[in-house]
């Protein structure tokens, strides 16, 4: 049983400067409930792969299945929630209204919208802020609201494209901890794109190391760390060993290219 299954995926963009190989021969299986991080330098195709899963890009070769369906069918079935690097909250809606926007679009009735909105805002500890406007919240709180919005409609896959990339280290640490907690409670399958080695190692059950030109997978590391991870696990030898392996993978990818 796999949630996401990619077999020798190819994606080539035709540009004025000739074809760009964003993805070349990418094969990956993700089991339900896994936390998979994608790490690599810019242009390695990690975001592109996520966008393929979300049916925002169409691969030019290979097969990709999401929940046993094509990505576009999965999108129509609302199989995933997507969190972008920018929170993307609408300034004319309160936090509560922002979170219930996907529910409105999906046709949930009013009572259920309110019930779900409060439930997911509680999950990200923003319940008291339902009537505030986005500009009244800090960047970290805005990003939490955008995660709540992605969780609101019970998709069992969460796609996160550098969600904490624009936040400072301290806020990022706290949000990482909260995200792990959220993952443990909701049992979602999470695909997470990041630039940060500690973030990837701390969060993931599986780390996918990618390298550019052409965008490809150079290493897939199954993390031996337990699911329950306090922040200071980052000082243990196991953690440092995985981090070292990720760094090596990134270096090899750069040298080969």
């Amino acid at each position: 049983m796999t949630t996401i299954s990619a077999q020798s995926l190819d994606l080539t963009f035709q540009t004025a400067d000739g074809p760009v190989h964003a993805l070349r021969d990418v094969s990956l299986n993700v089991a339900p409930g896994e936390f998979v991080s994608f790490i690599g330098p810019s242009g390695c195709g990690k975001t592109t792969f996520l966008r393929c899963v979300a049916a925002l890009e169409t691969p030019t070769g290979g097969t990709l299945q999401v929940n046993g369906m094509t990505p576009d069918e999965a999108r129509r079935a609302r199989a995933y929630g997507y969190v972008f690097q920018a929170a993307g909250l609408y300034p004319w809606r309160t936090i509560g209204k922002n979170v219930s926007l996907p529910l409105e679009i999906m046709g949930y009735d009013r009572a259920e919208r309110i019930e779900r909105m409060h439930r997911v805002l509680e999950l990200v500890e923003l319940d008291q802020f339902a009537n505030k406007y986005p500009w009244q919240l800090s960047g970290g709180m805005q990003q939490r609201a955008s995660i709540a919005r992605a969780l609101a409609f019970d998709a069992d896959i969460l796609l996160m494209d550098e969600p904490f990339g624009a936040l400072d280290e301290i806020v990022r640490d706290r949000l990482n901890e909260e995200l792990l907690d959220l993952w443990a409670r909701t049992q979602k399958t999470i695909l997470f794109v990041t630039h940060s080695i500690p973030e990837a190692v701390y969060l993931s059950t599986k780390i996918v190391v990618m390298s550019p030109r052409p965008g490809r997978i150079t290493d897939v590391i199954d993390s031996p760390l337990p699911r329950d991870r306090p922040l200071d696990i980052r000082d243990t030898p196991e953690f440092l060993e995985i981090a070292h392996r990720v760094r090596e993978g990134l270096r090899e990818g750069m040298e080969a290219a």
Partner: protein
């Protein structure tokens, strides 16, 4: 939303402090405006002297004064500046008080504006023969379609002339008559503009086909097309408000279309991707994302559109030989050389336009603040 943000000016001071801050800033904001206006008015007064020199010297000559050149015929080909330099006293004394000056002085226009709006209206309580002088003429009236005879060139003024809203001497009355087609035309034009923009943004065919026509429509001089619109509507029995409104709409739809096409395309790719991940329909994306995002663009174009609508309504009055409205005042004034009346009608139109734009600005500020698009 009611909270004042911490970095707003005057946020840390109480109400009296805020007033004091405002008062302290006042000289800095008002002084440059006053300076520019004063300079313009001074320039205007100076310009009145050469512009009105011919008439000033004629009046001086009739009063028995020595002027050079001595006769009107000799003066005809001489420029106003040379005349004013040759006869400074006569030119200066006669420049600002003429009944039909080539260039009326600002105070004459203000007096006329005051008289025809807030002040006592001429013609009320005057003797019958004096009132005839004030009759509004019907200029350029075509011959009677049946008999071919020229129609009456004047229409009697209202008996009840005391009321500034109904008297034909009242600029408020004429402005009100021009305002109605302006607002209706603005409403039609804005609605059409928004609809076209929605179509252009959603359909590639419309994008390629409508925009060139919209641009072409604005390259045709409105003065050429206005009479045709009036005549076509008249031939199917529609007169009055609607044809004038159509001309207003013709001028006002374009800025709205252009602004809204930009506004509806303003959402970021990420915002649109988000809508796509929720499998939102095009209509849903339009209502929940594109329309709210376009509001700042909409207001900017509405302000252009309402001024254009006013111009359209005034132009719509010209080819009909209208007897009422700001356009009629302009036309009657130019027909009878009543320069003061022309200028006061022009200023009346400018004041109406300024009031309309200011109203829209107030609505804009309140709406955008409410929507969190401007703080």
């Amino acid at each position: 939303m009611t909270d004042t943000s911490l970095n707003a000016s005057g946020a840390a001071v109480g109400r009296s402090g805020r007033v004091a801050l405002w008062l302290r800033r006042l000289p800095r904001t008002v002084a440059p405006v006053v300076t520019v206006v004063a300079a313009l008015i001074a320039l205007w007064y100076v310009a009145c002297i050469p512009m009105n020199a011919q008439e000033s010297l004629l009046a001086a000559e009739r009063a028995g004064a020595e002027v050079t050149p001595a006769t009107a015929a000799e003066r005809r080909g001489v420029g106003g500046v040379s005349l004013a330099i040759a006869n400074p006293a006569a030119a200066l004394s006669g420049a600002l008080g003429q009944e039909r000056p080539r260039l009326p002085a600002p105070h004459q226009i203000v007096a006329e504006l005051w008289q025809t709006t807030a002040g006592h209206l001429d013609g009320c309580g005057l003797a019958e023969e004096e009132r005839d002088r004030l009759v509004i003429p019907l200029p350029f009236l075509p011959g009677d379609p049946v008999s071919g005879e020229a129609r009456a060139i004047s229409t009697p003024i209202d008996e009840d002339c005391a009321d500034i809203f109904t008297s034909r001497r009242s600029l408020v009355f004429h402005a009100g008559l021009t305002l109605a087609p302006t607002l209706l035309g603005f409403a039609i034009g804005s609605a059409l503009g928004i609809l076209l923009a929605v179509g252009i943004v959603h359909s590639r065919v419309m994008d390629l086909s409508v925009m060139p026509w919209a641009i072409a429509s604005q390259t045709i001089p409105i003065l050429a097309i206005a009479p045709m619109i009036i005549v076509v509507f008249n031939s199917v029995g529609i007169q009055g408000l609607l044809p004038k409104s159509i001309i207003s709409a013709y001028l006002s739809f374009f800025p709205v279309t252009v602004g809204m096409v930009k506004g509806l395309r303003a959402p970021s790719p990420a915002d649109l991707d988000l809508m796509r991940t929720w499998n939102a329909s095009g209509l849903r994306t339009l209502i929940s994302l594109r329309l709210p995002t376009s509001l700042p663009y909409l207001f900017a174009s509405l302000k252009v559109a309402i001024a254009a609508a006013l111009v359209g309504a005034i132009i719509g009055e010209l080819p009909t030989g209208a007897v009422r409205g700001l356009g009629a005042r302009l036309l009657a004034g130019s027909y009878y050389g009543q320069t003061i009346q022309i200028w006061s009608a022009l200023f009346g139109a400018a004041i109406v336009a300024a009031l309309l734009v200011a109203t829209l600005s107030m609505i804009e500020r309140a709406t955008l603040k409410q929507m969190g698009l401007q703080r």
